[in-house]
Subunit: 223 residues, 2 copies
DNA sequence: CATCAAATAATTTGATCATATTCTGGGGGC
DNA sequence: GCCCCCAGAATATGATCAAATTATTTGATG
């Protein structure tokens, strides 16, 4: 254990899991980078059992890769992988947005609007890390509102797969001309036009993911 | 470790994971049943560390459920859960079948045909366990042929969620009138008609999953 | 004499276990 | 019926063993 006098609610392995998850999600671990148990016990200040469990969970979710010999690393996406992720998100995200539009309350809509405002600030302020985090939380909130836990878990899991690459790509391009069709979507939701909201999200997803694809193809060509 | 003089290739936690996975997948653990570490260490003859890891992996895949207090059990599907699974498979399976049709070789087609024949034998022979296993392997093989590892993993993960319930449902209805649109699909694949193959699989999925839904609604009504 | 390659030694890392500790849930006493 | 105590199960640690990668040495060759 690290700090804590005794005010703890969550077990260590759960805390470690969440920390490691964010490390992957927001690109603090680069694609290809090795992930070792002992390295993380030091970095996160925990014993090896909780760290082992957290790593296993992330492997099961596709966030980390087990390399046959007993090594673990952050996966590097191939062009084919990206295509699959695009196909999957292109279906999942609009479907969830559609459901969300049918269910969302006005309070929740305000929530999303506020989040999107903060997102704008992060973009204009050039704060990459904040952009990545807020953008994720925006979509994540949408998944929750859709009230479809299994589909939401699937969609959420996809973020873990392209998170590390997203960070690399955005790091190369700065925070300008990042995709944000969120305004369209929020307007459509206000109008209770589920189809239009779904279309807006679909474009948002395609724009963002295609940018990742192109950028990754470039760096692959320069191998 | 259980037996073994030294001919081992795979680590214990991997073996335990696979065994536990099949236990869930083919309904040897009933929905709602509690899963304890110590129970499994005895049942599978392993130490607690490998068992813990296997359980965590299955939880991450949605095959087991963590109940907040440190208990773990096999999830019981709600009607909403089933609907989500239907929606997801209704999209994923046809998509993968479509890709598979474009890529499948004649040898692989023969493979599938043989598997489907064995499936028929299991049905007419009334062997429920063999049906469940062969049906799973048939679809699984299709996923592999589609050559889309991420989408295949998503589809594969869904089986873990309805596996336990499928066993219960089929146990109540016997092996007669089980869905099998596989013949249609194989014919369509022979003709390289991807659209028709995808439609056949879609019907296969819907038939099977709707049967689960209806059966579960009945038992819920009799609460 | 320098360079490269193969074999071997050393270090790092992962896998498993036994054990101590903490927490949850149930049963007996009030 | 409520509360406290206890049995049992889960969590977490560190030690030990095994495997794999890396570094080093050695010997042969140009």
């Amino acid at each position: 254990m690290v700090g804590g006098v005794g005010e703890n609610q969550l077990p260590t392995h759960e805390l470690i899991y969440r920390q490691l998850r964010e490390l992957v999600l927001f690109g603090d671990l680069a694609p290809g980078q090795a992930v070792t148990i002992q390295g993380l016990t030091e970095r996160l200040g925990a014993g090896m059992t909780p760290v082992r469990e957290a790593i296993r969970r992330l492997i099961a979710e596709g966030a980390l890769e087990f390399q046959g010999n007993r090594r673990v690393c952050v996966p590097q996406l191939s062009a084919d992988n990206i295509s699959e992720l695009i196909v999957a998100r292109q279906w999942l995200d609009p479907h969830l947005a559609l459901r969300a539009t049918e269910r969302i309350t006005l309070d929740e809509l305000d929530d999303l609007t506020v989040m999107d405002g903060e997102l704008d600030s992060a973009i204009s302020g050039g704060d990459l890390r904040a952009y990545l985090e807020l953008n994720y939380r925006f979509h994540r909130r949408l998944y929750e509102i859709a009230d479809a836990p299994i589909l939401a878990e699937l969609a959420d899991g996809l973020w873990l797969r392209f998170g590390p690459s997203l960070r690399v790509v955005c790091g190369r391009m700065g925070t300008q001309n990042l995709p944000d069709k969120h305004k369209d979507m929020l307007a459509a939701m206000h109008a209770r036009d589920a189809e239009r909201a779904a279309r807006a999200i679909r474009e948002d997803v395609i724009q963002g993911m295609e940018q990742v694809r192109r950028s990754l193809e470039l760096s692959a060509a320069a191998h």
